[in-house]
């Protein structure tokens, strides 16, 4: 079994910031595990601007923001990088089991920082009735298809939920020549940032429907249409308000959930918000979107740096 002072799981913005700050706080034996082939996590597919305004006082794209940390990381050979490394287990003795092509390894750490990000709520979690054809995507998957794979998931799009990814994807689809037929929000206001409402919806004159819900998806092989209805203040459907929109694509943008299955399986609990980055097991920290879902990467970076410092302090206390 390999032994390390600190293992950081996930090399998105949170994991990179945590690893670098732990280094700056004196930790020299760090392993950073990343399941993808690249560093940067979800920022790689966020090719729009708006990152770094608070942290760097500059307007950057996602890959540019990530790039700054990647560069810094590559200049720190003490931070050992392991790409395509997928953690399958964490236990209470701080042993992590991970897979990579051709290998299954175990590593025992003095401290662990989990920076595993979040996942999107699915159509299944929000219970949209109807059929199950192709053409239903989470907004983030559609973003990956367009920005990373260079393909167009659909031509006539209805977006469910007005979270930031949904709004950004409304603009993205429009720029790619697809038609955004509606953005549906059950509340009377958007759950995304104001700047996204202006830059992604208003500037392109896209229909954002508040107090509406999606009722049903139609189509056997591919999405054909959806039915929508108006709702009252309590989100109850208003009688006879149902109407249909023809479309070939439904995007689900109804929120994000921290991805903490490894911690859960180890029966480790994440502490409340006033106990930033801490868990019920001393020496195991959680940061970034796996700790809580952040609106801005800038804030996730700051809090994750804190996690790095905390881990360094913890390791020091063990050695003392």
């Amino acid at each position: 079994m390999i032994k390390r002072d600190l293992v950081v799981v996930g090399a998105g913005p949170a994991g990179m910031a945590a690893a670098i700050s732990a280094y700056k706080a004196g930790v020299r034996d760090i392993l950073l595990l990343e399941r993808e082939q690249f560093l940067g996590g979800v920022l790689n597919q966020c090719i729009h601007t708006g990152f770094g305004i608070e942290y760097f006082k500059e307007v950057l794209t996602g890959p540019e923001y990530a790039g700054r940390f990647i560069k810094e990381l590559k200049n720190l050979p003490e931070i050992n990088l392991s790409l395509r490394s997928f953690v399958i287990k964490l236990n209470c003795d701080k042993v992590l089991t991970f897979l990579k092509p051709g290998q299954m390894e175990q590593v025992k750490a003095k401290a662990i920082i989990m920076a595993t990000g979040c996942r999107e709520k699915t159509r299944e979690m929000v219970h949209i009735a109807g059929s199950r054809p192709s053409g239903i995507f989470s907004a983030g998957l559609a973003q990956k298809l367009i920005n990373i794979e260079g393909v167009l998931p659909g031509r006539e799009v209805v977006i469910v939920g007005s979270g930031d990814i949904g709004l950004i994807m409304a603009r993205r689809f429009t720029l790619e020549g697809a038609q955004v037929k509606a953005i549906i929000e059950i509340k009377d206001r958007t759950s995304g940032l104001l700047r996204n409402v202006i830059q992604c919806v208003k500037d392109y004159d896209l229909p954002l429907l508040f107090n509406h819900k999606i009722k049903r998806i139609y189509g056997n092989q591919r999405v054909k249409k959806v039915s929508l209805a108006k709702v009252d203040k309590n989100y109850n459907e208003i009688k006879d308000s149902e109407f249909f929109i023809d479309c070939d694509t439904v995007l689900i943008s109804t929120g994000l959930i921290p991805e903490n299955e490894l911690i859960e399986m180890a029966d480790i609990k994440i502490k409340s918000e006033d106990d930033l980055n801490k868990t019920s097991l001393p020496g195991v920290f959680v940061c970034g979107n796996s700790y809580k879902v952040y609106d801005l990467v800038d804030s996730a970076t700051k809090d994750s740096q804190e996690a790095g410092t905390m881990a360094a302090e913890y390791i020091r206390s063990l050695n003392a």
Binding site: F86, R123, A129, R216
Partner: protein, 476 residues
């Protein structure tokens, strides 16, 4: 000229194909969908019933019991995981207890073994999450679980290795009987001749029968909505848990599945048509209300997937018969529950019907009854996994993070017949977990495109018309 043509590649058609493949026969199987098991079978609950819920005089009852015994041997031969978890039919009052006793007597007449009525104390020890108001349950230890599509795929693979020819994306459009000699089966892919014909066309078996002038049954699809819960809840229940059955269905159950995720459902409602696989808000409410009566702690937010299936109902019992009006035609219709359990027994019955009606059955010198078990990384113990990953690099290359599926497993499933995203999902579970493909869809699409040598634009969810993407940059 084939000796046998089988119409329909669900679990019934593939079980018949495999059953007949031990004889010296030329056999063809026609399936209209792009992959096997894409009709009724794909939404089966995966329960191997013990025989507690069908009348001892019915074909359903007899074939269920026989199938329950056969499945153990077949699952071993094919390397399909079969787990005998046992079932509980729960009673909440004296009236229901009386009905339980009646069910028990009936099942004992049929020949179901090991039945007993268990007490609240037993239930508390063995099924701690069960509603504590239960006063008794009928325990049937011989109930089990299996993956319905993997069973169908592995039956087909076994049949294939024993010489059966499979025609997928091949829809039967016309059938002509030529004198006493042979059938001419017209499909979208060409015309095939066969001496005997087996109609195992599931929801469409009435339409196939109509092509030959058989009009005395029709299939009325009965919809069942099911909800799959997160694997985290695997130990919510230790057994299959049933309420008392009603006249038309076994009720809404707590189902253990061979993949670990608990499932609740199904509803029993008349479907709009044979393509209506939609779910509804009412179905959701009904399933959760009923399931909570059995296990009160079930939560809606644990749902990771839902779907509807259609039962091909043709009256009260299965219809399995030789059509004397059209010599050489065997009808296998109305195979709803317990059809999965009965499938291996149906295959034997069909063999006997063929023999009785003039087909000579000579055993092949060499019949390969076994196949190599498909590897699922998620099912391996850590030391086994470690060895395997060292030997085969691709097992350490994880594609589906929620269900732990490697690139190697996905490539294998394509080599074994996977053609679509759903086909890959059924075979490997890639994309079936809590993120529902949010993270792995692109990677699976790319592996499919590469291994099938197809452009990304042609990769589908479940066959033509369900392409995933609409355009490629610079190539629109």
């Amino acid at each position: 000229m084939y000796d046998i043509g089988i119409i329909g590649g669900g679990v019934v058609g593939t079980a018949i194909a495999r059953g007949l493949s031990r004889y010296k026969l030329n056999i063809a199987l026609f399936e209209k969908e792009e992959e096997l098991a894409f009709g009724v079978s794909k939404s089966n609950s995966g329960i191997i019933h013990p025989g507690t819920q069908n009348s001892p005089t019915s074909l359903k009852g007899k074939l269920c019991l026989a199938g329950n015994r056969l499945i153990r041997k077949i699952s071993k031969e094919l390397g399909v995981d079969y787990k005998e978890v046992g079932e509980l039919i729960v009673a909440f009052n004296q009236d229901e207890l009386a009905k339980l006793n009646k069910l028990k007597r009936q099942a004992e007449i049929l020949g179901v073994r090991g039945l007993k009525i268990v007490s609240p104390g037993w239930l508390k020890d063995n099924e701690p999450n069960l509603n504590s108001q239960a006063i008794a349950a009928l325990y049937a230890p011989t109930a089990g679980i299996i993956s319905p599509y993997r069973l169908a795929y592995d039956l087909a693979e076994s049949a294939l290795s024993n010489g059966v020819e499979f025609y997928t994306s091949t829809k039967v459009e016309s059938i002509i009987k030529h004198g006493k000699d042979y059938f001419e089966v017209g499909t979208n892919k060409g015309v095939y001749k066969t001496k005997f014909l087996i109609n195992a066309a599931g929801l469409f078996s009435d339409e196939v029968a109509n092509l030959l002038g058989i009009n005395d049954f029709s299939i009325k699809p009965r919809k069942g909505q099911e909800f799959i819960l997160d694997k985290k809840k695997e130990y919510l229940a230790n057994h299959l848990i049933f309420p008392l059955p009603t006249k038309i269905s076994k009720g809404i159950l707590i189902i253990k599945t061979s993949d670990g995720n608990p499932m609740i459902g199904p509803t029993a409602e008349t479907a709009r048509d044979k393509y209506d696989l939609s779910t509804s808000d009412q179905g959701l409410a009904k399933v959760f209300d009923s399931a909570r009566r059995l296990i009160p702690s079930i939560k809606e937010e644990d749902t990771i997937a839902y779907f509807s299936g259609l039962r091909p109902v043709a009256g009260d019992d299965f219809i399995i018969r030789h059509e004397d009006k059209v010599g050489g035609l065997i009808t296998v219709a109305g195979i709803q529950s317990p059809g999965l359990t009965a499938a291996p027994a149906i295959a034997i019955l069909v063999c006997n019907l063929l023999k009785k009606n003039g087909l000579s059955l000579k055993k092949k010198l060499k019949f390969t009854s076994t196949r190599k078990k498909t590897t699922n990384l998620f099912a391996l113990k850590p030391d086994q996994a470690k060895k395997l990953i060292k030997k085969e690099i691709g097992y350490g290359d994880i594609v589906c993070r929620c269900e732990l599926v490697s690139a190697k497993e996905i490539r294998d499933s394509i080599r074994r017949g996977g053609r679509t995203m759903d086909g890959i999902k059924f075979r490997t579970r890639a994309g079936a977990g809590r993120c529902h493909g949010g993270f792995c869809t692109t990677r699976i699409m790319k592996i499919l495109a590469k291994d099938l040598d197809k452009p990304l634009l042609e990769i589908t969810k479940k066959g033509p018309g369900s392409e995933i993407i609409k355009g490629i940059r610079n190539n629109d």
